[in-house]
Symmetry: D2
Subunit: 167 residues, 4 copies
């Protein structure tokens, strides 16, 4: 049976310190659950912090890279998937995860969250502001879950996985 | 010199009657300007209405299709681009247009608008509600323009094209 | 009804003078048939020569570009499709054409010809050498047609279009 | 540091028994080297046999899937990457591997080998016929290596990895 792959999506260079701390914590909790972490793979922001967090607990990290090589890849990525398709890889990120966690917000992150809504992938907004929650609740409906912090997000993910047995 | 290609993005099967009427009108105005219309190409909702509007005034219509053939294509498409990459084609839609018009809202449309923000493509929200305007103003910044109707949208587009000479 | 779109595929920077002359001639004949020409869009080799040939007879030219902008685009492209997915765009080139013409050979061209075989798109080898004909005849079967020159290639294409009414 | 990912490419439903036996053996040898195996992920032909071979020795298997879900996936895949981009995923397969092994031949396999030539990825032809070797030697040049069987292929791969330290 395939491993349980979950994703953490969020801003790169424009991530806040708080985003990155949260991503690191969530990445480490994901590794402790025995889940594989999937991110956008770059050495920046939420992707990098989440990957390092997972790595710190011995987790396995898949990075879906935008460019045609591994330049600028997070050092915590174990398995680089080299797409050479830039933002079009967003859809791969979304489709390959059984659950997606969203930390922070920018255009790329919003695109991934919207695609998750389109693909009906369970998506957990972690510590997001009210405008984000309001807009995406309107368009994504019941695939959207709200968590105040990393621990609450993991608990929601566990419940989802309990009732959905595969991708 | 390449033709001026502009896009109309919006919901398919879940478009409202009002969305479709607006898309038809905007498509016809785009054709009257001599611009090429680009849409997602399917025989549904905003894409189809916009394409038929453009066609009604002798315009040229490019359809960027999701599947691996032309099944379900709008009859008003002149040039089908067959991508076989489903939602990943959103990024092609965005990058290929000098200006994008957004009518109606759903997850696919939100993904395209977010990608337009990422790629810094001028994007005109036509008759959108306040939550949409508020959320995307926060993440997309100054590429975002607001128009109350099709005529106002065309006027904004003309101004943008006057100062930007190519894609 | 959609226009008839046909493609000319072949090497870029590494095209020979003979490849480029043949591509120019074939592009001009395609335009005279009233068919839309689709190429890889760059200002190099077979793509550029074919596009200029089509343009010289008033044809319409679609360029499926590899990068995320129009830098390096052939000046003869009317409608740039900006994919930002580099070699992965090969499959779009193949799927979007009712007939494909192959002039010259290199790894990119071979990839497109193989994909045409996979998608069962009628493919005409124009003035190719015996190794090319032999290898692709083995893997592509009856979608493959052989033409000694541009005029013969057009005649074969006409026959194919006579019996296949759409993409 | 990222894991060493290598790929086995070859026909699906149209693979021969000999192709599948060879793929199984090569997959198991790859796992014994401690390398991660990457394939096209489907439960068919060379992909499936290679994945089962790797699994039989406790290896880790990444499957780059063509569709928008995991239907038809090989049961031996550990990490499914869901692309929804069909043949356009070929380029991801090629770019994500440090070394590619090619067993059997059909249009999809030829497209991947041609893309490997384009991307200059070391490619090992395993037990291929003379027409294949001849054609691809002409277009791919020195990235192409020839192996008579699985053991010889592994030995060539070891030598390549000794002198190239990363993707």
């Amino acid at each position: 049976m395939a491993m349980t792959v979950v994703g953490i999506m969020g801003p790169g260079e424009d991530a806040t310190e708080k985003d990155k701390q949260l991503a690191y914590e969530l990445g480490s909790l994901i590794a402790q659950e025995g889940w594989v972490l999937l991110t956008g793979g770059r050495a920046a922001g939420v992707m990098d912090a989440a990957s390092r967090g997972a790595k710190s607990k011995g987790g396995l990290v898949v990075g879906i890279l935008p460019a045609s090589n591994t330049e600028g890849m997070s050092a915590a990525v174990d398995i680089p998937i080299v797409t050479a398709m830039h933002e079009a890889r967003n859809n791969i990120n979304v489709l390959s995860c059984r659950i997606l966690f969203f930390i922070g917000m920018n255009p790329g992150t919003a695109a991934e969250l919207a695609l998750a809504g389109k693909a009906r992938r369970p998506s957990i907004l972690v510590a997001q502001n009210q405008h984000v929650i309001q807009f995406f609740s309107e368009i994504c409906g019941d695939i959207l879950k709200i968590a105040a912090d990393a621990v609450a997000a993991i608990e929601i993910a566990r419940q989802i996985l309990r009732v959905s047995s595969s991708l």
